[in-house]
Amino acid sequence: MKRPAAIAALSILGAAALVTFPLWSSGWESSRYATTILRDMLVLAILALSLDLLVGSAGLPSLGHAAFFGAGAYAAAIAAQRLGSDDLLLGFAAAIVVSALLALVIGLFAVRAAGIFFLMLTLAFAQMVFALAFQAVDLTGGSNGLANVHRPMLFGLDFNGPEALFELVASVFVLVLLLLWRVRASTYGRALVGLRENERRMRALGYDTTRLKLSAFVLAGALAGVGGALSGWSLRFVSTNDVGIGRSIEAFVSVLIGGTGSLVGPAVGAVVVLFVERVLPSSIPFAETVLGVLFIVFVAAARQGIVGLARAAYARVRAP
């Protein structure tokens, strides 16, 4: 009984430390920039976590998850601009509704496929969404991107400042973690894992596996949309890159190197991927090679991703 309590206490402490990062790091020389980087890492982490619901839990390898991320980003920004309101809840509502609906439409088709076909179908649909965003210049700004995205307000609370925005992103990240933790512990979450392990048996047990997959797809899409809204607010800009295959791959590799099916794995993966992609190039001109070698090494050395590696190390320490 003691360990769960300790873990809970540590988790709460960790979450509090994360959300208050700008406060306790303010003495650092590069606190502001570190806050920016960490914010972007958390946004990618939300996307990766939502994707892991498909890849890790349900065994559905989606290579088009940026479609929902981008849809959320555009939806929150466009809703705010058209309705002339910077309300946080409006932004989230728009992001969730649009990305969930999009996921429902795409999911209706995609979840009938599996494996590489699922991967290709999701990629294909995501590229169609990309094409739409690229061509609908009046709505999305097309290739020029959507500028002047306002940061949101909630009950007079202004998230315009970098610290406040970080706290918003970190809080949502913690909430998403919490939600996914609840989902995984629920009957529903276990049914998803059952899908991955043996779909036929699930069907034999009376589960409507297609509906199960579809619901996971919509939930993952909605959460990705939340991440997208946060991305738009963070950068004050939405570009077609946010619905592009590059973003989908970033999320995908974050899940894989972090460790599929583990709660914190995708988040750790996102941190590592963004560090190598965005921070490392400031010091070395061959960061992409480093990233590639990292993937190769992780596949060879760490079957369960970084988190699996950490677990194995922990087990070894405790073993004697």
Binding site: W28, E29, S30, R32, Y33, A34, T36, I37, D40, F134, G141, G142, S143, N144, G145, L146, A147, N148, S231, L235, R236, F237, S239, T240, N241, D242, G246, E277, R278, P281, S282, S283, P285, E288
Partner: protein
């Protein structure tokens, strides 16, 4: 010089701890604030030896070093490094450190690196950016941070204009552009075609993204206003690797003068397909905004581009003393011909150099620095260079160039000049 410069960023607390404990171990460093890099330390030391020790000047250059535009970034970096080398690493007696960052052709990356320049490196001013969406993405960030930014490539019209709701972007007091606006390279050639060249009808064929659309619209407006008629238009979707289908369409319509906007690989593939289908023999004429036949394209397609007429503010063959000096120095340093991207970066450096001289090296007083930049006038490799005080876009001559094969090499020869082309500074219809 380059790799050291790229490494020089402000230390984080952790790095500071590592660095200072290493220094303590070596027992040779005083407990003063650590220098960001050996270069800067050395430069500061030399500066201290002179009468008025200049404070180190830090420039943030945001350029693509990976992905499709990487060579543009490399070219602009070469010009920047060369300029500083010629000035002994100092501008207005301030030793210069350039922090280069890769924008990787992604607005999200560009926005993040801009925050790095503002918050961590605390650069004195920013330069660079190749892709228009990235320039638009960081427009508000530099404006809010009062960070002076010299745009050295991206030509999206809105960056230096009054635009309703500032969508997708609008001019800023803090943003200058040493390159061009797409209006500047597309509109004058439209007028020129209808008036001086006597072209009655033209057909437009452009890349289907923001820049291509702007270029086609600006050309069409000018051409029709001067009495010409655009008989049709064709757009190539992004990533159209195969240009044969488009050239087939062009060949099966009657208008002979084609106005195009393509650059880089697209331009190469287009020009090759154009020749494969025998367009020159069938009487079709290739024209366009200057990037269609810029150095990067021309070195690959060579005589295949023969006869193409384009407008740009520079050509490697441009006959003036500044261009000769620049081209020679660049060739000597890198064993390469410079391209227009190098010129844009070079002129950006010249402009800030002169402005710094005017403010005696002061960048802290933003208004004074901006006023100095507004007052800059000099002879560039492209001819007379100055910023429009209203829009901060460059005012420059536009050259009508024709590709000719001279001495076995295909070059852009200057056919005509349109003087002092100034962007209208607001949306045109």
């Amino acid at each position: 010089m380059s790799s050291q410069e790229r490494k020089s960023y402000r230390l984080s607390r952790r790095q500071f701890l590592v660095a200072s404990s290493a220094a303590a171990l070596a027992a040779c460093a005083p407990a003063a604030a650590p220098s960001p890099s050996p270069t800067a330390a050395a430069a500061t030391a030399t500066a201290a030896a002179t009468a008025t020790p200049g404070k180190a000047l830090k420039i943030g250059q945001l350029l693509p070093f990976t992905k499709v535009y990487a060579e543009l970034g490399n070219s602009m970096k070469r010009a920047t490094d060369l300029y500083l080398k010629q000035k002994g690493g100092k501008l207005a007696n301030r030793p210069v450190t350039v922090v280069y960052e890769d924008e990787a052709n992604d607005p999200a990356v560009g926005a993040q690196k801009t925050q790095k320049f503002i918050e961590q490196d605390q650069v004195d001013f920013m330069m660079g950016i190749v892709a228009t969406p990235i320039a638009y993405a960081i427009r508000n960030a530099v404006d809010t941070a009062k960070m002076v930014f010299i745009e050295t490539n991206a030509g999206g019209n809105s960056l230096t204009r009054d635009v309703p709701n500032c969508t997708p972007a609008c001019k800023s007091k803090y943003i200058f552009r040493s390159s061009f606006s797409s209006w500047q390279i597309s509109n004058p050639i439209g007028t020129y075609f209808a008036t001086k060249k006597g072209v009655k009808e033209a057909f437009t064929f452009v890349a289907d993204y923001g820049f291509g659309t702007e270029s086609a619209a600006d050309f069409t407006n000018a051409f029709t206003a001067a009495g010409g008629k655009v008989t049709g238009t064709l757009k190539a979707p992004l990533g159209s690797a195969d240009f044969l289908p488009f050239v087939t369409q062009l060949k099966n319509q009657p208008t002979k003068d084609i106005y195009s906007f393509f650059s880089g690989t697209d331009a190469i593939n287009y020009i090759k397909a154009w020749n494969q289908l025998g367009m020159p023999a069938a009487g079709y004429k290739m024209n366009g905004a200057g990037f269609l036949t810029e150095q990067d394209v021309l070195k690959e397609v060579k005589e295949l581009a023969n006869g193409a007429v384009t407008s740009l503010f520079w050509a490697v063959t441009l006959d003036n003393a500044e261009n000769k000096a620049f081209t020679d120095a660049y060739q000597k340093e890198y064993n390469l011909l410079p391209d227009v991207f190098a010129v844009q970066a070079w002129d950006g450096m010249q402009a800030v150099d002169l402005a710094l001289q005017a403010t005696k090296g002061d960048t802290a007083n933003k208004d004074a620095f901006i006023a100095a930049l507004e007052g800059v006038k000099f002879k560039s490799p492209r001819g007379d260079f100055e910023f429009d005080k209203v829009t901060h876009n460059v005012i420059q001559d536009m050259y009508i160039r024709e590709v000719k094969v001279q001495g076995g090499a295909a070059v852009n020869t200057i056919v005509d000049k349109i003087a002092r082309v100034t962007d209208p500074g607001k949306p045109t219809t």
